[in-house]
Amino acid sequence: MHDTLSVSNSTLALGFVLVIVALVIGYKEKLGIDKDIIIGVVRAIIQLSVVGYVLKHIIKVNNLWLTLAFFVIIILNASYNAGKRGNGIPHAFEYSLLAIFVSTSVTLGTLIWTGSIQFIPQQVVTVTGMIASNTMVAIGLSFRNMKQTFTDHQQHVLEKLALGADVKLASLDILRGSIKSGMQPTIDSIKTLGLVSLPGMMSGLIFAGVDPEKAIKYQIMVTFMLLSATSIGSIVSCYLAYKEFFNKKKQLKMDLLS
């Protein structure tokens, strides 16, 4: 099954020529992204090498607490990055942490409960990474949309408050739009599954020699999983974060708007 997987260190080094293509384009077109590309590539190599090494040992040891520790590290990291995208929204990290924890736990728990995956490190850790990273992106998009819409539509909100609306009713359209913006990329990518993209999980299994019919079943599971994760993550984070745009007197915090 693994005979076709022949990436060695030397072939990887030769593959680096693809990075040089990107660097040359960036340099020629004066895009100013040379530094970002180099830092990104170096970080990717180091991070993946470390993760590969750690994963190898976690899989080998197969210890419950070590697997859970990795689960926590992934969630903390994803929350930190999602929180940063909160761009000044108070408690964005805490809200991201709760949202990612809930979405990952519910989704992962359901997958284990239904028997779709087993509680073994190579499945739990990889699936946790997929869920947490997609939820992180969804929350980041939701936060960005929320702040922008509160800024653009502040008079709408003020008019509703002035009529006596509670903060939730005054923000309902913004809340719905922000949740939707977090889920939209997942929904869009689902629509083109198989037609445009052959996503990671499925491609990886086919690469490893698994029967495409079986690989497709896993991809369908991943699709269900990501839909659940991004919707739970977006809803939890948005419902927690919108209140930060108001003070205790139910007034819009103008200093929070860009």
Binding site: K160, A162, L163, L169, K249, K250, Q251
Partner: protein, 214 residues
Amino acid sequence: MNIIEINNLVYQVDSNTIIDNVSLKISKGDYLTFIGPSGSGKSTLMKLISDMISPTSGEIIFEGKNMDDYDPTEYRKKVSYAFQQPNLFGKTVRDNLEFPFELRNEKVDTEKIIDYLKLVNLDESYLEKSVTEVSGGERQRVALLRNLLFTPEVIILDEVTAGLDTDNKQIVHNLINQFNKDYKVTVLQITHDESEIEEAKKIINIVGGKIENA
């Protein structure tokens, strides 16, 4: 009896004093016209009275009770602020006129809405009109009905007739006068309009965040 009593109100942003130690007593049913140069603090004073912003110091007493002791949403239903260039919510005029019922968790009274539309020379057919199709004058009239469908104690008008033609201005004046006369709604209006200033019952001139004459 004073419906609103403002004592030593100050509002500062950073080191700028926008409202400078303003005190004012307003009786129920008063119709006050606030004038003054642009940037003198008129709108800020109105936003303070309507609890859209909070003062740096001083107090506002409403119906004998400090404003801070009211739930803000309940207070704003009693002291209603109308904007100069209002937005209409949702998709149709109906969405806007049902909003006051929605925020009070009350069953929508379509008969009442139609009766109120007639007060501003609009008929029932306007209910289904798209918010993108109404003219500036119609938008202001519909927006004012949102404020008045459940009669407030005080209505604050922040240059609501600015940019309206003579006919639309007259319709708005008639509406406000009717509520002031029939329901003793206290009216606090900001205006730069000469004819409105000429017809004003009581003028308050705001200059540099202070009342020049009360």
